[in-house]
C-alpha cells in the first residue's frame, strides 16, 4: 500500500483517465468479455441518445436491440459476430458500414431512429495477457449514407437504368458484407466490387446502346403497368415520343379488346406468379398513335428488385411478315389450286434405294387431283409403288432412281402393264438432293398408244399391200413385155402367109376361098390393134407420172390438126378455149385428149357437118371442169355406165371402128390425175364428156 501511495505521490499527478475517456470527442464504449457495458464516452451516449448511468452495467444488446420494424436488419448479428471474432482472434475487427437503428427515448416519442455506423472493435489485454476489455469505437455515418441513398433514389426516378445500378450496388454491398463475414480480406472484396461495378457499367452501357439503337420497341413497365422505359424503336413503331407515353398505362398501346385481359393477367401474375405471357413470345395486335392497328410480336420478361416487379417487353412490328405470310399462303393456295386443277397428273415421290444404291421402290409424297384419274390409284400419299403394284416394271424404278441420283430431268413414254396404261412422263429432281425426291408430270396416253398401234397395224397392212401391188406391177410389166413381143409374131405369120397364099395360089382359089383368107387377114389386123390398145392401156396405168405445166389448149390444137389431115374433106368446126393450162403428165394428157377428140371426130363422121368443142366451165363449188362436146351419133344414156369399161362398145364395128379401150384409157389417165370423168349423151344429138384434173 505504502509503496503504492508513495509511488503515486512521487510521480506527477496522474491525469484523471476516466474524465479524459468520458470527454473524448469520439464515440467509445468499453465492454467486458461478457459484453457488459463498463464505460462509455459522452459523445457515444449523445450519439445513441442514451444516458451513461442508465446503460453502465447492462449488456450491450440489451441496450441496443434490433429495430423490430426493420425485418432486414442485421445490426445485432453483425456486431455480435465482430465481437466474437475479437474474442477469438484477439485482434481488432473493423466492421463495414452498418445499419443499426437506435431507440428514441420515450420522452422524445419512442420508436427507433435509422442510423448507419462504421464500427471498429479492439481488444484490451490484462497483464496476464487475458482479454480484459473490448473497446467498441464507432463513427456515425448516417448523414453520409442518407445523402448517398437520397442520390440513388433520385437517380432511379430520373433514369431507371440507375435503378439497376443501385440494385447492383446494394447487392454488391450485401456481398461485400458476406465476404467480410467470411474473411477479412476486405481488399479482395473491394477489388471484386470494383470489377463488378465495371462489369455492371459496361453492361449498362451496352444495354443502353442496344436499347436506343434497336429497331424493335423496348418498353418497360412497373408493376402498376405504367410505362417507364420507351426506346427509339418503340417511338418508330407506335408513333409516340417518350415524353408522351412515359407514365401512361400500357393499355394505350393495345386495342380495346386486349385491355381487359391485360389488366386481369397483370393482377394474376402479381398475386399468384402465374405467367401466361411473361417469359414467352406471343403474337398480338397493337395500336399506333394514329389509331391504326397492326400485328406485333411481343417477348415479355419480368424482373424483380427488392420491393418491386418490373416488366420489359421487346416488341416487333410484324406487319410486313404477316403480309409476306399472307402472300405466301395465297400463293401456295393458288399453286395448290393450279396443281389440283391441271389435267396432267402430278406427284412427288421419294425414291427408295437398297444398300448398294440400287433403286428398289418409291413412296408417293404428294399427288394432285388428276393423279387418281390418270392412274386409278387411290390414297397414294404415304404408300409405296411396290405395295400398290408389285409387278410394276423395273424400268420405272431405274429411271426415277437415276433422276434422283443425277438430277438430270427426263422425258419418256413408258408402259405400266399392271395399271394397263401407257404414260407420257416428264420427271425431274426436286428439293435437297439428299432427300432423293422426284417430281413427275404425266399423261395417260393409253388411247393414243392404242391408236398408234392401230396405225402401225394399218401401215403394216398397207406396206404389204403396196408390196403386193409392186409385185403385181412387176408381173404385169413382164407380161406386157412378153405380150408385146410374142403375141404379135404369130399374127404376122398368119397375115403374111395368108397374103402369100393369095398371091402364090391365086388361080387355085375360088372367090369364097379368097374371101375367107381376106377375113383371116382382117381378124389378124384387129387382133394386132387390140394388142396394141391393151398395151397402151396398161402403159397408161404403169408408166411413171412426170408432172409439169401442160397447155391443154395447144395440145388440143395439135391433135385436131392431125385429125383434119386424115380427112381434109370433112366439114368440122372446132372450138377450142384458150389458156387451158393444168399441172399434169403431158404424155398421158395427150393420150386422153387424143381419145376424146378422136372419138368426137369419129362419131361425127356420118354427119355432113359437125361442131366439136373443147372448153371449160366452173362448178358452183369452184372446181374447174373440162369438157369435149360433139353433135355426132351420141349414145343412149341407159348404157352410160358401160362407156368407160375396157372393151365395152355401144356401136358395132361396122358402124364405127374401134376396140373399146379408148374411154377406159381416158378414165385411167383422169384417175391418175386425181380427177373424175363422166359423160352425157343423146342418140344422134351428140355427146359431152366432162373431166376434172
Amino acid at each position: 500500500m505504502k509503496t503504492k501511495k508513495g509511488s503515486r505521490k512521487s510521480a506527477p499527478a496522474a491525469p484523471d483517465f476516466r474524465a479524459l475517456f468520458e470527454a473524448a470527442p469520439d464515440l467509445y464504449l468499453v465492454l467486458t468479455p461478457k459484453l457488459t457495458i463498463v464505460a462509455v464516452s459522452e459523445a457515444y451516449a449523445r450519439a445513441t441518445m442514451t444516458r451513461r448511468e442508465e446503460i453502465l452495467g447492462r449488456g450491450i444488446f440489451d441496450v441496443f436491440p434490433d429495430n423490430p420494424d426493420d425485418p432486414a436488419t442485421e445490426g445485432v448479428r453483425n456486431l455480435r459476430a465482430s465481437l466474437e471474432r475479437v474474442k477469438r482472434d484477439r485482434v481488432a475487427d473493423a466492421m463495414p458500414v452498418q445499419k443499426y437503428d437506435i431507440r428514441r427515448p420515450e420522452a422524445d416519442g419512442g420508436g427507433f431512429e435509422e442510423r448507419f455506423w462504421s464500427p471498429v472493435n479492439s481488444p484490451v489485454f490484462d497483464s496476464k495477457g487475458e482479454l480484459a476489455y473490448i473497446i467498441h469505437r464507432v463513427e456515425d455515418v448516417t448523414e453520409f449514407v442518407r445523402l448517398k441513398q437520397a442520390g440513388a433514389r433520385q437517380q432511379r426516378l430520373t433514369e431507371e437504368i440507375q435503378g439497376k445500378v443501385e440494385e447492383m450496388e446494394s447487392e454488391v454491398l450485401l456481398r461485400t458484407r458476406q465476404v467480410a463475414e467470411a474473411s477479412r480480406q476486405l481488399k479482395e472484396a473491394n477489388a471484386e466490387l470494383k470489377r463488378s461495378e465495371e462489369t455492371l457499367r459496361t453492361s449498362e452501357e451496352r444495354f443502353r446502346s442496344v436499347t436506343e439503337t434497336a429497331h424493335d420497341a423496348i418498353v418497360m413497365a412497373n408493376q402498376e403497368g405504367t410505362i417507364i422505359v420507351w426506346n427509339r424503336g418503340a417511338q418508330g413503331i407506335f408513333g409516340y415520343m417518350a415524353e408522351e407515353v412515359l407514365g401512361q398505362p400500357l393499355t394505350v398501346l393495345m386495342p380495346e379488346r386486349y385491355q381487359d385481359t391485360h389488366r386481369k393477367g397483370l393482377r394474376r401474375f402479381l398475386q399468384t406468379g402465374e405467367a401466361r405471357v411473361v417469359g414467352k413470345t406471343v403474337e398480338l395486335h397493337g395500336i399506333r398513335k394514329d389509331g391504326s392497328e397492326f400485328p406485333l410480336e411481343l417477348s415479355l420478361t419480368s424482373w424483380k428488385t427488392k420491393n418491386e416487379i418490373f416488366f420489359s417487353g421487346i416488341i416487333r412490328d410484324i406487319t410486313e411478315r404477316k403480309r409476306a405470310e399472307e402472300a405466301l399462303r395465297k400463293s401456295e393456295e393458288k399453286y395448290r389450286t393450279l396443281f389440283d386443277s391441271l389435267d396432267v397428273g402430278i406427284c412427288t415421290i421419294e425414291v427408295l434405294f437398297d444398300g448398294s444404291n440400287k433403286p428398289v421402290d418409291y413412296r408417293f409424297l404428294e399427288v394432285n387431283s388428276a393423279f387418281e384419274k390418270q392412274t386409278g390409284i387411290q390414297n397414294a400419299p404415304g404408300r409405296r409403288m411396290r405395295e400398290i403394284a408389285p409387278l410394276h416394271e423395273e424400268h420405272w424404278f431405274e429411271i426415277y432412281g437415276k433422276i434422283a441420283l443425277t438430277g438430270e430431268p427426263k422425258r419418256f413414254e413408258n408402259e405400266a402393264a399392271q395399271l394397263s396404261r401407257w404414260y407420257d412422263v416428264y420427271a425431274f429432281r426436286v428439293g435437297d438432293p439428299e432427300k432423293r425426291q422426284v417430281a413427275i408430270h404425266f399423261n395417260d396416253i393409253t388411247g393414243r398408244k392404242q391408236g398408234e398401234r392401230e396405225i402401225d397395224k394399218l401401215n403394216e397392212a398397207l406396206r404389204q399391200h403396196a408390196a403386193q401391188l409392186e409385185a403385181a406391177n412387176k408381173e404385169l410389166e413382164a407380161f406386157s413385155y412378153s405380150v408385146s413381143h410374142d403375141l404379135r409374131a404369130p399374127l404376122r405369120s398368119i397375115d403374111g402367109f395368108s397374103q402369100a397364099l393369095l398371091e402364090d395360089c391365086n388361080d387355085r382359089l375360088d372367090e369364097s376361098g379368097k374371101d375367107y383368107l381376106g377375113r383371116v387377114r382382117g381378124a389378124c389386123l384387129r387382133m394386132a390393134q387390140l394388142i396394141d390398145d391393151l398395151l397402151n392401156l396398161s402403159r397408161v396405168s404403169r408408166s411413171e407420172m412426170q408432172v409439169e405445166r401442160v397447155d391443154l389448149s395447144a395440145l388440143a390444137r395439135e391433135i385436131v390438126s392431125e385429125l383434119q389431115k386424115q380427112a381434109p374433106e370433112r366439114k368440122v368446126t372446132f372450138v377450142i378455149a384458150d389458156n387451158l393450162v393444168r399441172e399434169g403428165d403431158p404424155r398421158l394428157l395427150r393420150v386422153a385428149l387424143e381419145n376424146l377428140l378422136g372419138n368426137a371426130w369419129k362419131y361425127t363422121s356420118k354427119h355432113p357437118s359437125a361442131r366439136i368443142e373443147f372448153g371449160v366451165r366452173r362448178e358452183p363449188d369452184g372446181k374447174t371442169v373440162f369438157f369435149v362436146r360433139d353433135d355426132g351419133a351420141g349414145f343412149d344414156m341407159a348404157y352410160a355406165g358401160k362407156l368407160f369399161g375396157a372393151f365395152q362398145r355401144l356401136h358395132g364395128p361396122s358402124d364405127f371402128p374401134g376396140t373399146g379401150v379408148g374411154l377406159a384409157t381416158v378414165q385411167r389417165i383422169v384417175h391418175r390425175h386425181g380427177g373424175r370423168v363422166w359423160a352425157e349423151g343423146t342418140v344422134e344429138q351428140g355427146a359431152i364428156f366432162h373431166f376434172t384434173l
Binding site: S480, Y481, S484, D486, R488, G496, A500, R539
Partner: protein, 155 residues
C-alpha cells in the same frame, strides 16, 4: 466382087421366111446370111465357132437384128458389137415386134442405127423391107472397112 451381105439375126423361121419373101418381092438380091440366135451372129461377125476362118474383113452391109433371141439376146449382141472396134461402126437396124419404151431407149443407147417395128400386115411389112433395102443398101454410105484388130485401132 462387091458383095453387099445382109445379116439377118432372127430365131423365128416364119419371120425368116416372110423377110426373105419381102426381100425377093422387092428385088433385093443381096446375099442374106441368117443367124438363128445372138451367139451365132457373134460367131459369124468375129469368125468364131462354126464361122472360124471366115474372112472377117468382109462385113455385112447391114445387120437386121431381132431383140428377143435365144442364148444371147439382141441387146447383148448390140452391146458386144459396139464394144469391139471391128464392128463398132457396123450399121445395125433393130427389127422387132415390140415398141416398148424400154427397148427403144436401150436400143438407141447401145448404138443402134435404126429401130423398125415389124407390122403385122404383111403388105406393110413388105413395104418396110423395101424402104429398108433401098436406104441401107443403096443410099447409105457404109463406114470404111476395119482391118486392124480392135486394140490397135483404139491406140
Amino acid at each position: 466382087m462387091d458383095k453387099k451381105i445382109i445379116l439377118l439375126v432372127e430365131d423365128n423361121p416364119d419371120d425368116v421366111e416372110l423377110t426373105m419373101r419381102a426381100l425377093k418381092k422387092n428385088n433385093i438380091q443381096n446375099e442374106v446370111v441368117v443367124a438363128r440366135d445372138g451367139a451365132e451372129a457373134l460367131e459369124y461377125l468375129f469368125g468364131e465357132g462354126k464361122y472360124t476362118g471366115r474372112n472377117t474383113s468382109v462385113m455385112p452391109q447391114i445387120v437386121l437384128l431381132d431383140l428377143k433371141l435365144p442364148k444371147v439376146n439382141g441387146l447383148e449382141v448390140l452391146q458386144r458389137l459396139r464394144a469391139d472396134s471391128r464392128t463398132r461402126l457396123l450399121p445395125i437396124v433393130i427389127l422387132t415386134s415390140s415398141k416398148e419404151e424400154q427397148d427403144l431407149i436401150s436400143g438407141y443407147s447401145l448404138g443402134a442405127n435404126s429401130y423398125i417395128r415389124k407390122p403385122v400386115d404383111f403388105n406393110q411389112f413388105s413395104e418396110a423391107v423395101r424402104q429398108l433395102g433401098l436406104y441401107w443398101l443403096l443410099l447409105n454410105e457404109p463406114p470404111p472397112v476395119q482391118k486392124a484388130s480392135g486394140a490397135k485401132v483404139k491406140v
